[in-house]
Symmetry: C2
Subunit: 129 residues, 2 copies
DNA sequence: CTTGACCTTCCACTATACTGGAAGGTCAAG
DNA sequence: CTTGACCTTCCAGTATAGTGGAAGGTCAAG
């Protein structure tokens, strides 16, 4: 399969596939006599795996690690489980941080909504922030 | 006040102040005969305002907009209120997105924690993702 | 006179996941 | 023979908020 065909099969662009190759997520493809990349069919599942990983919020580096484990013949399940656990922890931390920020902003906003513009102290630039 | 002194007064670095000047958040400072920047005292409140804005998750561009309004002599309160409202909406959207992602990841993770590594289908790379 | 702590400018780099574009090769169809 | 749709490589840029470092000027103290 040529690069554009492969990319289209998973809704990506040829550029993205070259980029993934550069980042080590795709092995260097065989080349046709004219120099064009020639992908085997399993590249499609590999790309779909990469997309599932992205959907789960994993970075390309993390997905690359999983693929490396798989590529040396080991089942990456344990690694995947650990990564997913870490991802859950990270997400919880991020959500907590954003929730705290939201509370801060809400306080500022409530004061601004209730307040009197004339109360602005020039030295403070804006009394609502 | 010299740049290092001013920066230290608010816990920032001289580099950061030059960067803020470059981004238009600080007006170009007067220069001493030797070329050193010479900041008036109100620069400290301006920097503290910038920091409060950052604490509220505003971007430097948004803070710069507020300061511009203030600098042409208008009270930026209405602008600030609108920005804070937008910030609340953005935060809610982000939190919702992360929460949905967390649910997806939790599903994958639960399957991985319960599952049998032998079930891995090589074609699918990892049955848990 | 030198040392050290300041200050100046300017350029590059960090991280992430691509995207855009230039310059050029390949190939089937009309 | 040309046109268009492919493909190749490589370089640069996107967004954010700075940080790091080079090369050099200034100034008070010892």
């Amino acid at each position: 399969m040529r690069i554009g065909e492969t990319a289209a099969a998973v809704g990506m662009t040829a550029k993205t596939l070259r980029f993934y190759e550069d980042r080590g997520l795709l092995p260097a493809a065989d080349r046709a006599p004219n120099g064009y990349r020639d992908y085997p069919h399993e590249t499609v599942s590999r790309l779909e795996f990469i997309r599932r990983g992205r959907t789960a919020g994993l970075t390309l580096a993390q997905i690359g690690d999983i693929l490396s484990v798989r590529d040396i013949g080991q089942a990456p399940c344990v690694h995947v489980r650990d990564l997913l656990a870490k991802q859950l922890r990270d997400l919880d931390a991020q959500i907590a941080e954003l929730t705290a920020l939201r509370a801060t902003v809400a306080e500022f906003h409530d004061a601004a909504a209730a307040g009197d513009p004339a109360a602005c102290d020039p030295e403070r630039i804006c009394s609502y922030l």
